[in-house]
């Protein structure tokens, strides 16, 4: 009886858990994005001072509840030599957020290469993808159309998966909420 009720309780109250990877080059703003997301969606969460975010060479974890879903974010280090660890997380991912530094035109090609390699992985086939053009609060940054153009030859590889490109400024929290709820999807 206890087992039955316990099972029923779990069934009624359990939330579906989803794992979401946050990827992108170092300094794109992945950890800042994660901190802002935690701050805005978690009651009682007092985030760290965003100006004190240091380079991630490992794994940051954030868990938030949105409606009936529990989202587990895995924020991985983005340095080139750490990108070899990314694919070890793909098999368990339900979604990917790829963060681009819109102010770093010099490394846009490098970011595109890392992105292309990521979406080429079979383990991520069909996994929804959110691309964030970060640091839109900075003057003279690249716009979303600029970035789409730079990444345009990745379009065939995106294939059937849902993909949304969204401007954001993780530091100020701009667009965090609408990003999380998507809006419309498009294939580039």
């Amino acid at each position: 009886m206890y087992t039955l009720l316990s099972g029923l309780y779990k069934y009624m109250f359990q939330k579906d858990e989803y794992c979401i990877l946050i990827l992108g080059l170092d300094n794109a703003g992945k950890t800042t994005f994660l901190e802002q997301t935690k701050t805005r969606f978690s009651k009682n969460y007092k985030g760290m001072n965003l100006s004190k975010i240091t380079t991630t060479v490992g794994l940051n974890i954030g868990t938030i509840d949105v409606g009936k879903a529990r989202l587990m974010f895995w924020d991985l280090g983005g340095q080139e030599e750490l990108q070899s660890l990314w694919d070890k997380y793909y098999a368990e991912s339900h979604g990917v957020i790829y963060v681009i530094d819109s102010t770093d035109e010099e490394r846009l090609g490098e970011s595109k290469n890392a992105f292309e390699k990521m979406i080429s992985s079979e383990a991520l086939e069909g996994v929804p993808l959110l691309v964030l053009a970060n640091k839109q609060d900075v003057e003279n940054c690249l716009s979303v159309p600029d970035i789409k153009t730079a990444f345009s030859d990745c379009a065939p590889k995106i294939g059937k998966r849902d993909c949304l490109v969204q401007p954001c400024a993780a530091l100020s929290g701009y667009v965090i909420c609408s990003s999380d709820y998507g809006g419309y999807t498009e294939n580039n």
């Binding site: 009682n44 760290m48 975010i53 060479v57 490992g58 974890i61 030599e81 070899s84 660890l85 997380y89």
Partner: protein
């Protein structure tokens, strides 16, 4: 008067105390690191037979750092110190490639411990001042750190001898302890 008592309260608000466990194989550099944190003389370090403990102020925290000897015969005693640990710091000799497997095994066993469940872990890839030191990313991959899914982890290159990288690692500690507490 009210203002004075408010000021007194603000001023005397105790720093948040953090219990940090400093572990790793013998000769990884744990005690040198501890003394570096405490700004003490590091010219005469001998193998730790028992444990060292030091309190260090850092970024608004009082860090109580427990450095336990890492020799094989002492390792069973590590578990006596697991209770109430807020942060695990694991020190690796980056130049001692012959013992990477051993240190990886010890770390994996630590992470399986119930009393350390969910405790964030900072791995110091120490002795980066040596030419033969493996880079942090190579160590992360070699030790299969990507298997860690239930807690935050960070690997930080450092040289306890020169102090390089030590404060960066401690910055990560202070930030992630805050995250855990709230």
């Amino acid at each position: 008067m009210g203002l004075l008592s408010i000021l007194r309260k603000l001023k005397s608000a105790p720093d948040q105390e953090v219990r940090i466990l400093l572990l790793g194989l013998d000769n990884g550099g744990k005690t040198t690191l501890l003394k570096q944190l405490a700004s003490e003389d590091i010219s005469h370090i001998t193998p730790t037979q028992g444990f060292n403990i030091k309190s260090v102020q850092s970024q608004g925290f009082k860090l109580n750092v427990w450095d336990i000897g890492g020799q094989r015969k002492i390792r069973p005693y590590w578990r006596n110190y697991f209770e109430n640990t807020d942060m695990l710091i694991y020190v690796i000799d980056s130049a001692d490639r012959k013992r990477f497997e051993e240190t990886g095994q010890e770390l994996a066993e630590l992470l399986d411990e119930e009393k350390l469940s969910g405790v964030p872990v900072l791995i110091f890839a120490n002795k980066q001042d040596l030419l033969t030191a493996a880079p942090a990313s190579e160590i992360a991959e070699g030790l299969n750190l990507h298997i860690i899914r239930d807690r935050m982890w960070q690997i930080q290159s450092c040289s306890a001898l020169t102090g390089e990288g030590v404060q960066d690692g401690m910055s990560w500690v202070c930030k992630n302890v805050t995250a855990k507490k709230k």
